[in-house]
């Protein structure tokens, strides 16, 4: 289970805008979930 990281999401939205920021965040969640599943 990956904890929601609103600070990261807000940073991404600030730097890349809402659409791209959310997309990068979704990728981050996807990858960190895979890391978490591996443990």
């Amino acid at each position: 289970m990956v904890t929601e990281n609103t600070e990261l999401l807000n940073t991404l939205i600030t730097k890349h805008g809402e659409k791209k920021g959310k997309l990068i965040y979704d990728h981050y969640v996807l990858i960190t979930t895979k890391f978490a599943d591996k443990k």
């Binding site: 600070e7 990261l8 940073t11 991404l12 730097k15 890349h16 791209k20 997309l23 990068i24 990728h27 981050y28 990858i31 960190t32 890391f35 443990k39």
Partner: protein, 136 residues
Amino acid sequence: MNEFNLPKQYNWQKASTPIVKKYVANLIQSGVGNAPTAFELQNDTDVYFTYEYIAPGIYTATASKPIFEGVYPFENSKVIISITNPSIMSNFGGYSVFVTPVTPDTFTIYSSNLVAFVDDILGQATQNTIEITIYP
């Protein structure tokens, strides 16, 4: 006109030889929270890249114009990006630095100890070398 149909540059090239374009740079982060600085070694892509620090182990790079093309399943992908990180040679434990495309002009750089993205300074403060190859 296709921008890659350029006149030959060398005698061994055919006029129709597609020209592969390449960007190579050393990528160094000077301190925690700073964006990595790129020292270009070669760039004939006519594209410039802006790097940003997002969080420990997470960075983004934005190209001055789109470099990724295509739609799912990306059968026509013509861009290769790789980053070589020598941290394991410096006894920092060895970090994996890898990239994921996000949009046609943006990719994310992750620096991981293969457990999580916990790297305060990209590649554990070692000099990373990034290569972006664009095939026509």
